[in-house]
């Protein structure tokens, strides 16, 4: 068994009457990217705050170990092993990017020379050399986030918490950030990532836990999670209502979507199944205007597990309409 960078048992946290985390178990092996995925208000940030020693867990929680150290009894040892980049940039806006970096170097007790070297190196790596002498408050969102991560890396942490590192970034900066995160793990660092973007978790994470309402709704690799929900389907769309009606009476096992004149036929999307489906359509004399193959993705998993309503354009067949929740 590999060593765990983060091991938490029964994480509980309430603020007054409001239960934010209700018994969350986490196990993150060293050198992997673990993603905590969930809608706003699911408790992701609270989990990061607890694991990074910022706030204390409720006494009802079990043992929590980060970097091999007990969170409750030796928080300073945990702090020495971790780096945190929060949702809201943790840079000092009043001073320059370079001064921010040197401040971190001083707080990690590097020598003056070492501090300058590390600062220059990281500023270069994150493409901030040009802006180094400008106050951080003048930086764009993407630059601030890069400076933020650069500052986190000064101490050479073994475990890095990234709380929604790409929220509010434009697509280009987001892809930059993904590249940065991948490079981190290639150095053997453990990354604990929270995100509300399924695509992001799918792209980056070795393991994903879906957090909903303070509980882990499901956990596994992206593939395992996708297997949790019923297989894919082929969607046939018609423009002519009459053609739709006759096809629907012909294909009895297809699920109907009368509003958009579409039929959903269960299928795993493999070439073999598609060929036999096409043959069958041919024989039945059904001609659809549009045929799309739909394999389950994390969105389906997410919406199924978190019980949110599906966005209208997705046309997922069966979805219990639970109380509406804001997903974005």
């Amino acid at each position: 068994m590999t060593n765990l960078a983060i091991a938490a048992n029964g994480l509980h946290k309430s603020y007054g009457d409001k239960v934010v985390l209700n018994g969350v178990d986490l196990a993150v092996p060293e050198g992997t990217i673990f993603s905590l995925l969930g809608p706003n208000g699911a408790g992701k940030t609270t989990a990061v705050k607890i694991l990074s020693t910022l706030v204390s867990a409720d006494p009802a929680s079990g043992e929590i170990r980060v970097g091999g150290h007990d969170l409750a009894s030796d928080p300073q040892a945990v702090r020495a092993a971790i780096g945190v980049t929060g949702q809201f940039s943790a840079v000092d806006g009043l001073i320059t990017g370079e001064e921010n970096m040197l401040l971190m170097a001083d707080l990690h007790h590097l020598s003056k020379r070492e501090g300058w070297r590390v600062a220059a190196e990281l500023l270069e790596r994150f493409d901030l050399t040009e802006a180094a002498k400008k106050p951080a408050s003048t930086y764009s969102g993407g630059m601030k986030r890069r400076l933020d991560i650069a500052m986190t890396l000064v101490g050479n942490p073994r475990i890095i918490f990234l709380d929604e590192p790409t929220t509010g970034l434009d697509p280009r900066s987001r892809h930059n950030m993904w590249q940065i995160i991948r490079e981190l793990v290639s150095d053997g660092v453990t990354v604990f990532l929270t995100t509300q973007y399924l695509e992001e978790a799918d792209e980056l994470a070795d393991r994903i836990a879906v957090l909903n309402d303070g509980k882990i709704a499901a956990e596994g690799t992206a593939e395992e999670l996708k297997r949790l929900i019923p297989g894919g389907h082929v969607r046939l769309r018609f423009t002519d209502p009459a053609a739709y009606q006759s096809a629907a009476s012909e294909l009895r096992e297809a699920a109907r979507d009368d509003e958009s004149l579409a039929l959903h036929i269960p299928s795993d999307g493999s070439q073999r199944e598609l060929r036999s489906l096409l043959d069958w359509l041919e024989a039945a004399g059904v001609e659809a205007d549009e045929l799309t193959v739909h394999t389950p993705d994390l969105d389906d998993v997410f919406f199924t597990l978190t019980g949110s309503t599906v966005p209208a354009q997705r046309n997922q067949p069966t979805q219990p309409n639970q109380p509406k929740e804001d997903v974005r």
């Binding site: 990074s52 020693t53 910022l54 706030v55 204390s56 300073q76 040892a77 702090r79 020495a80 092993a81 971790i82 945190v84 929060g86 809201f88 940039s89 943790a90 840079v91 000092d92 806006g93 009043l94 001073i95 001064e99 401040l103 001083d106 707080l107 990690h108 007790h109 590097l110 106050p135 500052m151 101490g155 050479n156 942490p157 073994r158 053997g188």
Partner: protein, 272 residues
């Protein structure tokens, strides 16, 4: 890979000193980059000094020293009070900057780093005391420029006067840090710290306590500013200090200790 700490694990004390001096450098950098607030806060005592000496001066002089006093005597009377008021006014800035700082993400970052916890506050306090000293020197220079002269103060008395200013600044600063920590934003911090500049107006800074209404005299006499002002006057001008000396020291130590425990307990609470 190496551990984030230096190879030789430093002792707790040296760690605390090192982190505190790093935080101090950060605060001084802020003050140097954005001097406008410090300078604005200096304006109040300087304006009051000029107002009371040159506009109200004739009436005010007549009221002290049993009549017949001239303007230079009133300058001598008012300057020690204004030096301490300068400290009060500077610490309003401290409350505001602490409150601003706490809303910044960087403080959350500090809390997740293996640094000495108290260093964040110590950096603010030492930075603020240094600013107070600088401000006092500037206002003192204005006082000297308009004719303030210390009479027969010995070197020892000068040192004592300086020491008094420093411990007074430290006491008010710790209280101001606490005010900054409990204030949700800069405006609230500035309002909460108002007593720092209102109390000197209700002290013996501008007029002797025995010229105030009888019912008010005990309040004016025993609030923190008056004993400190009377002590400073005694040290610089040779007036009677009496029990004000130890009263001032007790106030300073009391406020410093109270402010320290208040601030550190607020800071150590979980952030919201």
């Amino acid at each position: 890979m190496s551990t984030p700490l230096a190879p030789t694990r430093p002792s707790r004390i040296s760690l605390a000193l090192r982190d505190s001096s790093t935080m101090l450098r950060r605060n001084l950098l802020h003050a140097r980059r954005y001097p406008s607030m410090t300078l604005n806060l200096l304006l109040t005592p300087v304006m009051l000094l000029l107002l009371f000496v040159y506009i109200f001066g004739d009436v005010m002089s007549a009221g002290i020293g049993g009549g017949g006093a001239d303007r230079s005597e009133y300058i001598a009377y008012i300057v020690p009070g204004l030096l301490l008021m300068t400290i009060g006014s500077t610490t309003i800035g401290t409350a505001v900057s602490v409150s601003n700082d706490m809303t910044e993400g960087i403080i959350a970052r500090f809390r997740t780093m293996a640094i000495h916890r108290g260093s964040v506050l110590v950096g603010h306090v030492v930075g603020s005391v240094l600013q107070c000293v600088m401000s006092v020197v500037l206002v003192g220079a204005v006082g000297v420029a308009i004719g303030f002269r210390s009479t027969d103060a010995t070197v020892l008395e000068w040192l004592a006067a300086f020491g008094l200013l420093v411990i007074f600044a430290m006491a008010l600063t710790w209280v101001a840090v606490g005010m900054g920590l409990v204030s949700p934003n800069a405006e609230a911090a500035s309002n909460n710290a108002m007593p720092m500049i209102l109390l000197p107006l209700l002290s013996s800074a501008f007029i002797p306590v025995d010229t105030m209404p009888g019912w008010f005299q005990p309040i004016a006499e025993y609030q923190p500013f008056t004993p400190a002002i009377e002590t400073l006057r005694g040290l610089l001008l040779g007036t009677e200090i009496g029990h004000n000396g130890w009263l001032a020291v007790v106030w300073c130590l009391g406020l410093a200790v109270l402010g320290y425990f208040w601030s550190t307990s607020k800071f150590n609470n979980d952030p919201k």
